[in-house]
């Protein structure tokens, strides 16, 4: 590099020289090395990594292939028995989403900087939300089932907590990143923060909320379908039960049903979203 530098003539007239290409080879090598080292470390069973065993896929194929075949022969005679649990799943999803939506509005305005000038209370709420979000959905369900007993209630609470975390985080960040001239207008007119939030901010951020509410409803349908696996109600319980009996033709019906319902909810929510947002 220094060699090219000294060779370079001072710019005179049209005799320009291209600057030397920046050397990124060392950096690239370091990055690739780091990624490779991390990957290898994750593959070492000795320190708790994953034992990569693609051979097992082949050698154990016969164990599962019969069941997989069953999976492709759904037994639709089972369908009537799935209706009631599926309904429960959908009810849980809807009620959880609505409850979270109601509480999300004040909490979101509390967590966003333009709507809550008090930095301390904002940070406290954000920290709580981040902790809530760091715990995966089924972990809540497992612990809540152990606390309040098997049934739909722990599932509902799980969905509620999970949705609340998502909505508050995403919407408050969206509020943070937007410009808010209308808030200044409200201040100039002498409004209190509460009045400003209610009259100017809420109408502005309503589409953001609507978008996230619909999104959590979609997520809830997906999640509540599996909550039953840990005992939190809905169709997941039936799925786990049939799987334990190796009745894979029934499992297949349930999976297909979940798939259809999830896609239907997504389509419906996309249509609604186009109207609302």
């Amino acid at each position: 590099m220094t060699a090219t530098r000294t060779d370079a003539k001072p710019p005179s007239g049209t005799d320009w020289q291209l600057p030397p290409r920046p050397s990124t080879r060392l950096r690239t090598a370091l990055i690739i090395g780091a990624v490779a080292a991390f990957t290898i470390a994750t593959c070492l069973p000795a320190i708790g990594g994953v034992q990569l065993d693609f051979g097992a896929l082949v050698s154990h194929w016969d164990n599962g292939s019969g069941l997989l075949l069953q999976l492709f022969q759904p037994d639709f005679a089972f369908l009537p028995r799935t209706v009631q649990p599926m309904l429960e799943t959908l009810q849980m999803a809807l009620v959880g989403a609505v409850a979270a939506a109601l509480l999300s509005v004040p909490l979101t305005l509390w967590a966003a900087a333009p709507t809550n000038p008090n930095g301390l209370s904002r940070r406290i709420l954000r920290a709580i939300v981040n902790v809530i979000r760091a715990v995966p959905d089924l972990v809540y369900a497992t612990i809540l089932v152990a606390m309040v007993g098997v049934g739909a209630l722990p599932g509902l609470l799980t969905l509620f907590l999970f949705d609340l975390g998502i909505i508050v985080k995403l919407v408050s960040e969206a509020i943070d990143s937007a410009d808010h001239p209308y808030i200044e207008a409200g201040k100039a007119a002498g409004g209190t923060q509460t009045q400003i939030n209610r009259v100017t901010v809420l109408p502005q951020v309503w589409p953001l909320f609507a978008n996230q509410w619909l999104y959590t409803l979609e997520l809830n349908v997906r999640i509540s379908a599996i909550l039953g696996i840990v005992g939190a109600g809905g169709i997941g319980r039936l799925l786990d039960e049939r799987r334990a009996f190796y009745a894979y033709d029934d499992v297949s019906v349930i999976v297909l049903e979940i798939l259809v319902v999830v896609v239907l909810i997504e389509v419906a929510s996309n249509l609604l979203r186009r109207r609302l947002v």
Partner: protein
């Protein structure tokens, strides 16, 4: 009705009939759903007391004796997440590129998008449960399930990213005589690579959360340990495990988020205080972000 009448100057209020009817309908459905749930709502009143009671059991004096094992199990979960992310990204980048409007022909694009949509709709736990029958209760099953389950969303992100690349460079390559392969390599890839790498890291973050869930159904890692100690009702250990999950997840999020910001925004903006992804404008990407 003269022009002096102030009422004539205002336009008529638009009818609120349809929104009101819709709100009433939604309200009725929600109330019906609430009433139909097999929940004894009196139990709800006892929940706060229960939470305080069990919260005390869990966090008053967490049992730190099992910490080394918890950290090993957490590392196993992270390993599952990482390998799952690599598998997922290795499959979904080429497939997602083929599914992009400007790259693949229609007869490749539509089936691929269909496959992505189907995978997106199946929860990863179900994929893991099906895989269990072949590979057994191992972390490898978890990694495979994460790899397969992620393809649906990741593939969608990839083709959306490729499609949002500006046309200029592609046109230049085409004008210089390049075919689809050259356009992909020299116009689309350089423009989309930072976003794609950032999304790959984001997949890793999502997988860390999901791998804990897969542990609950027996794929090993911190989730299995958590499920066991919850079943034993050893709340002090459960409390410790929860602390480990939260701290490690948040730390990994912070590290991965910092790397992602460096990738997408370039050097020198490290001082920004924002904690997560900037709010993206495209709705479709926003939609699947949290998964």
């Amino acid at each position: 009705m003269t022009a002096n009448d102030p009422n004539t100057l205002l336009p008529r209020r638009p009818s609120r009939l349809v929104p009101t009817l819709a709100a009433v309908a939604v309200g009725i459905v929600v109330i019906a759903a609430t009433a139909g749930l097999p929940i004894d709502w009196r139990d709800l009143g006892t929940v706060p007391a229960q939470l305080v009671h069990f919260g005390g059991l869990m966090f008053e004096s967490p049992n730190w004796e099992k910490l080394p094992r918890a950290l090993t199990e957490m590392w196993r979960s992270i390993s599952m997440a990482w390998i799952g992310a690599i598998l997922c990204v290795l499959v979904s980048i080429p497939l997602g590129m083929l599914a992009a409007g400007s790259v693949g022909p229609v007869w490749v694009r539509l089936p691929l998008r269909g496959v992505f949509a189907v995978i997106r709709a199946v929860p990863e736990v179900i994929i893991a449960l099906i895989l269990l029958t072949i590979t057994g209760l191992t972390p490898f099953t978890g990694a495979l399930a994460l790899g397969i389950a992620g393809i649906g969303t990741q593939g969608k992100w990839v083709y959306e990213t490729i499609e949002s690349v500006q046309e200029g460079a592609s046109e230049a390559v085409r004008a210089a005589g390049g075919g689809t392969a050259e356009v992909t390599r020299w116009a689309l890839w350089p423009a989309a690579a930072p976003a794609l790498l950032s999304l790959a890291l984001y997949r890793f973050e999502i997988n860390i959360r999901t791998s804990a869930v897969l542990g609950l159904v027996g794929a090993g890692g911190i989730g299995s340990m958590l499920a066991n100690y919850t079943n034993y009702r050893q709340w002090d250990t459960v409390g410790m495990l929860l602390i480990v999950v939260v701290v490690v997840t948040m730390t990994m999020d912070a590290i991965s988020g910092a790397i992602r910001r460096r990738i997408t925004r370039g050097p020198g903006i490290a001082r920004t205080t924002r904690t997560a992804l900037p709010a993206r404008t495209t709705r479709s990407r926003n939609v699947d972000r949290v998964r």
